[in-house]
């Protein structure tokens, strides 16, 4: 297994109290596999990824428990300089907003080349040549000329492709993409997702795709982990999950998206709001919004029940949830 996250806990200490952002998350990603981590804002999906990547702001963040095994090594036990070597060469991250993730006063060629200078000890000239190659690889037109340009001189889609180039520069084994296409228009989004999928196949990378978009997930993911209030509430192969969700939150999400192929009636809306992370409800954290909630949900926290060999659901009544969908 390429990456295994085991029972990860992250909290943030703030003036107003302790926010429990990640509360026992476990997932794994294999080489060549795409895991989609789906959740709404505040679900802990990005914080988990930042902990894996080792870029969590600490303080105020604090990892209070768990293990992150990458190629067999526990990353949380490494010293900072060892961790740095893993970042970039072993794993890389693609961010949502390329304009703020790229340095505005350094040309894209120098930013791409820096990877090779720092990690591979190349000369500046060789690094520049590799930068041009990479830009061609992500289909930037006239790469040899544009290598001297600055980030603001590129369109949003091109900037995102440059970020992909930078992430893939050292051919990492794992790439974490945090909402990589959210800021892009649909036609450009399709270009970028296609490119990412193609490169992933070519390099047999593991890919963690963090998103809130159920459409993007259906297009590219192999497995999916749905997060709510800092926990994984459902984990399944993507086909199984869309066919029959085993958690009422997943079902609610699927039912609340408007459809492209027909004009709907009233949309199903999950009532209420996501919980305050400083005051997560006892029992199942989804129970105040759940149409199926019963007494046990208010008191007993559901474990991730095994639904089948490959899927799990953190709902006491996952059987009913599955059955509901069949009729």
């Amino acid at each position: 297994m390429l990456l295994e996250v085991r029972d990860l806990h992250v909290e943030f200490r703030t003036r107003d109290g302790v926010a429990h952002a990640v509360n026992g998350v476990s997932y794994e990603v294999d080489a060549g596999e795409t895991l989609a981590v789906l959740g709404e804002s505040g679900s802990g999906k990005s914080v988990t990824a930042q902990a894996v990547m080792g870029i969590l702001d600490m303080p105020p963040g604090r990892i209070t428990g768990g293990r992150i095994l990458f190629q067999g090594r526990d990353l949380l036990k490494l010293r900072e300089e060892e961790r740095r070597k893993v970042r970039g060469a072993g794993m890389a991250m693609i961010f949502q907003d390329a304009l703020s993730a790229l340095n505005p006063v350094i040309s894209v060629g120098d930013q791409l080349g820096e990877m090779f200078v720092v990690h591979r000890g190349m000369s500046k000239k060789d690094a520049r040549a590799r930068a041009v190659e990479l830009m061609e690889r992500v289909r930037i037109p006239a790469a040899a000329q544009r290598v001297r340009d600055y980030p603001h001189q590129f369109s949003g889609g091109m900037r995102q492709r440059i970020m992909i180039a930078m992430a893939l520069a050292l051919e990492p084994a794992l790439v974490i993409a945090d909402e990589p296409t959210t800021a892009l228009d649909v036609t450009v989004q399709a270009q970028v997702m296609d490119l990412l999928a193609e490169l992933q196949r070519e390099y047999r990378m593991g890919l963690i795709l963090i998103t809130h978009d159920l459409g993007v997930v259906a297009d590219v993911a192999d497995r999916i982990a749905v997060m709510y209030a800092g926990k994984i509430v459902e984990s399944a192969p993507v086909h199984d999950l869309y066919k029959a969700p085993a958690h009422p939150y997943t079902r609610g999400l699927l039912d609340s998206i408007p459809r492209l192929d027909q004009k709907g009636q009233e949309l199903y809306a999950i009532k209420g709001l996501p919980p305050n992370l400083m005051d997560i409800p006892p029992g199942c954290s989804f129970h105040p919004r759940c149409p199926m909630a019963r007494d046990v949900c208010r008191t007993d926290e559901p474990p991730l029940y095994e639904v089948s060999g490959v899927r799990g659901s953190a709902c006491h009544f996952w059987r009913e949830c599955l059955d509901d969908r069949d009729h």
């Binding site: 091109m158 649909v186 259906a218 066919k243 079902r251 609610g252 039912d255 408007p258 009636q265 949309l267």
Partner: protein, 353 residues
Amino acid sequence: MTATTEPILEVTGLVKHYPLTQGVLFRKQVGAVKAVDGVDFTLGRGETLGIVGESGCGKSTVAKLLCSLERPTAGSILFKGEDITRLSGRALKAVRRNIQMVFQDPYTSLNPRMTVGDIVGEPYDIHPEVAPKGDRRRRVQELLDVVGLNPEYVNRYPHQFSGGQRQRIGIARGLALRPEVIVADEPVSALDVSVQAQVVNLLDRLQAEFDLSYVFIAHDLSVVRHISDRVGVMYLGRIVEIGRDAEIYDHPTHPYTQALLSAVPVPDPEAREHRERIILTGDVPSPTNIPSGCRFRTRCWKAQERCAREVPALAVPAAFRDASGPAAHDSACHFAAERQVVPAEGEHGNGPG
């Protein structure tokens, strides 16, 4: 053109160019950003017109023009037969009351130092004839109740609310003056999926309750289909295709619409393998330098010489003029042809359980 009710808004030849100038002492115009470059549509009473397009296509500028927040360079906007682009002073103020806007970002469109009561009641300061002073608090509380917020919250501040609740506050403010038209610019795109559905349902309900006409501007094609009766697709300052929702989504004839629809990720992994995708190459040209002829031709796989010479008119294409089917709707393409790009998913239920 297929509006069955009387039109409440008629937009003809709407143009908005922002001049680009050079020089400090002697300013001279060196060009223009052609944000909106000849837009025509009508909005029927009680109807919802969706406008979709990618960033930079001019859809938000159209919204501002409709609300008289910007003056058009050319063209007319008739509100119940009266051209509002020529109005000023008291007459303009009266029209503005009737066309209200709901903004995209519920975080920056509410003043953080004002209470919710003051925000929702502020329109009454400008139009005191709508609500007498003593009556305002009651009216504001009614509005909060209508949009699904607790009327007791009038003295709270915006930061005490979530994104979805803030958008409800923005909607309540839009409703305060009892307008006839609401222009909503990306009203749900900043919201999470579960909250987005709540706000879309609210907008639907309010339309029926207050007999509102909507211009609904968004980039999310699924949301637009859900809420709209008719849909217009914009590209580089122009509408390239417009028609009833089924005409546009199930029988698109303009290549740009087809590419746009085929690129939307559909929440169905089964569609992955057998779905046809049209991936456009390149980026949208700059609105300061619009291609000659058809403005989509630089990215179009069908483009021929004629497309560079002749600007295609937004009308029913010749090929469909005699047919009466759903493909016969306005489409600005010389080589318009029907192509189905949205896969029909049979499987999924529509609604819980």
